[in-house]
């Protein structure tokens, strides 16, 4: 297992290099001059050519792109992502807390999604084709198709404005989690519960189910086996939900003013704060790699066949 993790770590280095290099290139293609961004942000009243030139020198923008990229990458390895163009603060001091906030929102949502999709998936699989199955699938289809900003607005209107039960923004209390988590859960549970359901259904036709029944085993024992085997399939899918949601909380965070990565990245893109955008992409890519490795480990742990080959 240790060797496996080491191998995964080695493979992920070139991956992170490629991803970060692409973002670097894309950012440098932007028509905005970084020096201008910095001067604007500092509120310099009159931007002269000399001033621009000076700032470029200070930012090291006169050096070739590849050199800049390499220097940036090396300092990233030391967790130094440079300073924000706009606020002048170190990128990490902004990104770190935002990342944590988003991580909190994501983890709570993922737990809710896992619980809901397993419960609904199992229920629907056991009642396949019956009214319950059909109506759950119908409702979830509509909810999943609904854009999250619409869903969020409806929830805010009803629970916060009309009933005045829940806060509309920030993350001060436990209650602040309820609406954002609900929106994220509703948008994703529909997809994941379908995966649980179909993997349950395909397990139902497996030979071990037939043989177990032919041996007279009680249905409860059989269901347990089906669950165990079909959840193995779902484990890796659930793990990958973490980075996917981590990277897609933008809408929800903006609506609920959640001080997380989504809010920060949108603001940075609008104000062309390149160092933050760069670091944001790198962190997302890294968390994909980490979670992927983690999910493979969990899979190997629950699946004896994989455990051996690994």
């Amino acid at each position: 297992m240790g060797r496996y993790i080491f191998k995964r770590g080695l493979i992920s280095v070139p991956l992170l290099l490629v991803v970060s290099f692409l973002t670097f290139i894309l950012n440098s293609l932007s028509p905005m001059d970084p020096a201008e961004v910095v001067l604007h942000a500092q509120g310099v009243p009159r931007i002269t050519d000399e001033l621009l030139e000076e700032t470029r020198l200070a930012l090291g923008l006169d050096r070739p792109l590849l050199v800049r990229y390499w220097n940036w990458f090396l300092s990233c390895l030391r967790l130094d992502f440079g300073d924000s163009y706009v606020t002048g603060k170190p990128v990490w001091s902004l990104l770190g807390p935002a990342f944590l906030n988003t991580l909190k929102l994501t983890m709570v949502s993922v737990v809710a999604i896992i619980i809901l999709s397993i419960a609904l998936g199992v229920l629907c699989a056991l009642r396949e084709g019956k009214l319950l199955d059909k109506s759950i699938r119908g409702i979830s289809f509509v909810l999943t198709a609904m854009p999250s900003y619409l869903l969020a607005s409806l929830l805010v209107l009803y629970f916060s404005v009309k009933l005045d039960l829940l806060p509309t923004n920030g993350m001060d209390t436990i209650g602040s989690y309820i609406l954002p988590v609900t929106v994220i859960t509703i948008s994703y549970a529909g997809i994941y519960f379908r995966i649980v359901r179909s993997s349950m259904l395909s397990s139902l036709n497996e030979d071990y189910v037939l043989y177990g029944r032919a041996c007279g085993l009680p249905e409860r024992k059989i269901t347990r086996r089906i669950l165990r085997n079909s959840l193995q399939v779902a484990v890796s899918v659930f793990c990958m939900a973490i980075p996917i949601i981590l990277g897609s909380t933008v809408v929800v965070e903006n609506i609920f003013a959640w001080p997380g990565l989504g809010t920060l990245s949108v603001n940075s893109i609008l104000s062309r704060d390149f160092p933050i955008i760069q670091a944001y992409v790198l962190i997302l890519a890294a968390s994909f790699v980490i979670v992927n490795t983690f999910s493979d480990m969990v899979n190997a742990w629950v699946n004896p066949k994989l455990r051996e080959d690994g």
């Binding site: 071990y208 037939l210 041996c215 007279g216 085993l217």
Partner: protein, 273 residues
């Protein structure tokens, strides 16, 4: 005396409505072995599973399945379940898939025995050890702690036979138990089926493509085609003077293929491998 009498069994797809097994009738005498032969898709597996009432959801069945004087088709699910394993037992083609891939073999065996007997843990282990040894499985305790994918197809077949030795069912339905095996394992498994019948005196329905195996085991043969029984009789009669062209076609086209296997079956010494 007939232990099992099937009359006008019909299996159809509840959604599409297509009839998959139509009006098939046959009997299984006490202590005898009835082989079902027929081309792929002729309804052999459906017939076996219909007897155990284990065809997947969506498949419906009608007709009479009289077993020990009771019509199985009339029983409720609970009564039916109490007959599975102890009275009617099934052996499947692919051992690798017949056992739960995420637990060791011993779990299934112990759970099954716990369902039918009040043996304590040590008793169960001892019985399993004896049964597995008698089907020539070396290191039974080691095998109990192995996952299905760590054992060969032939070993898993013998594990299923060992369980039958302990359950002593009245009827064993074996659905192509030797098809997926190589020639040597096939020989060993057929040998164990013969001994299983001798030891438990059970009746058997044996589905097979392989007429060499059928000759060796079956007292009676029933030929299925496209969901119907087209011919049945004693093994000798079916093999020497079949009335139906299709049966003659089946028995002759397979004769060549089976010569090699027959040679092996006649040969001695391999059983002690």
């Amino acid at each position: 005396m007939n232990l099992l009498e099937v009359r006008n069994l019909r299996v159809w797809d509840g959604r599409g409505g297509s009839v998959l097994v139509s009006d098939s009738s046959f009997q299984l005498k006490k202590g005898s072995c009835l082989a079902i032969i027929g081309e792929s898709g002729s309804g052999k597996s459906l017939t076996c599973r219909a007897i155990m009432r284990l065809n997947g959801r969506g498949l419906l069945q009608s007709g009479e399945i009289r077993f020990k004087g009771v019509d199985l088709n009339e029983l409720d699910e609970r009564e039916m379940r109490s007959r599975r394993g102890k009275q009617l037992y099934m052996i499947l083609q692919n051992g690798m898939r017949a056992f739960d891939p995420s637990s060791v073999i011993g779990v299934h065996l112990r759970e099954t025995l716990a369902r039918h007997y009040r043996w304590n843990k040590n008793e169960t282990t001892e019985k399993l050890r004896q049964a597995m040894q008698s089907v020539r499985l070396q290191d039974p305790i080691g095998i109990l702690n192995k996952y299905p994918h760590q054992l060969s197809g032939g070993m898993l077949q013998r594990v299923m036979i060992a369980l039958a030795l302990l359950l002593e069912p009245d009827v064993i339905l074996a659905d192509e138990p030797t098809t997926a095996l190589d020639t040597v394992s096939k020989f060993e498994v057929v040998e164990q089926f013969i001994q299983l019948r001798e030891r438990t005196g059970c009746s058997m329905i044996f589905v097979s493509h392989e007429l060499g195996v059928v000759r060796k085991l079956a007292d009676e043969v029933m030929v299925m085609r496209a969901g119907s029984v087209i011919e049945s009789g004693t093994a000798a009669a079916i093999f020497s003077n079949a009335r139906h062209d299709y049966t003659r076609y089946l028995t002759s086209s397979q004769r060549k293929l089976n010569d090699r296997f027959q040679e092996l079956m006649g040969g001695a010494g391999i059983a002690d491998r």
